[in-house]
Symmetry: C2
Subunit: 194 residues, 2 copies
Amino acid sequence: MLLQRSARRTWRLPGAPLHAASSMDDLSAALTRSVVGREAAWREQSGALTSGTHPDGAALSITYAVIVPRGAAETSDGTWHTIGRLPRGLASRHGSAVTAAVAHVRSRMDESPIAFRLLPAAFTLGELQEVYELLLNRRLHKASFRRALSSARLVEPTDEWRSEGRGRPAQFFRYVQRRHARVARSLRFDLLGG
Amino acid sequence: MLLQRSARRTWRLPGAPLHAASSMDDLSAALTRSVVGREAAWREQSGALTSGTHPDGAALSITYAVIVPRGAAETSDGTWHTIGRLPRGLASRHGSAVTAAVAHVRSRMDESPIAFRLLPAAFTLGELQEVYELLLNRRLHKASFRRALSSARLVEPTDEWRSEGRGRPAQFFRYVQRRHARVARSLRFDLLGG
DNA sequence: TCAATAGTGTCTGTTAGACATTATGGA
DNA sequence: TCCATAATGTCTAACAGACACTATTGA
């Protein structure tokens, strides 16, 4: 996550005041460009806060979850931090906003091609799995990952192979939009409780 | 869903202006009380809109998904409508807000005990399944539903039985909070695409 | 005894995860 | 030939859904 220094050894999430003339979505896009110097790979509104005080005399804050590719150059006073390790000096409601944004991204991964927007048009299955593991924050089983991909017909192979390093070359794939979504078979209460 | 008549044969979602003094959450709770005359069984912020115009000169609108038990008496000008059949005269962004709220509820059902808050402390498994089917908008398999419940140790039987009607009496159960959530085994891309 | 509703036992197809194996390149 | 990495085949445990069955009440 990208945080900015504010006064007195504290961190804050990047933000900007919304004026009546512009839409929330346009502002979020502009803020992304100004902070990381490029378009977001993926961006969705993930929450809103009214408690506490807000910058620029605003009555509330709207939070967006924004994903940019690895290697996006930070500009101005932004610094990248590891998700899951909220630094000291980050206001607790900013921390909650980060937690909510991460949960939002993970819950949307099954319906939105987030991972593919973080990769070039052609990618290897190993790279794709890396992105999924990064976003979901857990290891995935290689064979299962490929079987699920294949069953969903989500990617298709290209004629290109990566020839670098020592081992067997990896085939490049590209993203293919599905036409019809299957009905998911699931009846789970695993996560419910506590 | 509960809609209110506005001018010229149009429908709108219930709403209220947020003033600086109150929090969004308090306002949502108060609005619920004023419209349906009781506390919400479950209530979470589900979206925000800035495009278009907003009541009372506001710059944006925050939407909450609010669930109340069946039989909540509507007050003032509210009328209950079936979800999935957006009536003519409902502004399209209000329709989008409803769709988003429904999706939000369904995505939260695995992590939040929504269904149990719609039932009295003691309930039969048939009643519980009815609530799940209503909220998820799909039929569930009776044996699978009970197996999943049992495996999750989400409910426990009481000594009470319902004795009414003709058939075998149904046992009453109560909700039990789980201590530890199991790790869900899932790797699905079924819904991804389009 | 019959009808109606609640609850359970068993089978099967699907599939996530484990494990081992093959495939293919460079050193 | 050996090593490293990619890709795949097979087995198993878990489990959702189907189906049939038992259990228990009132009419």
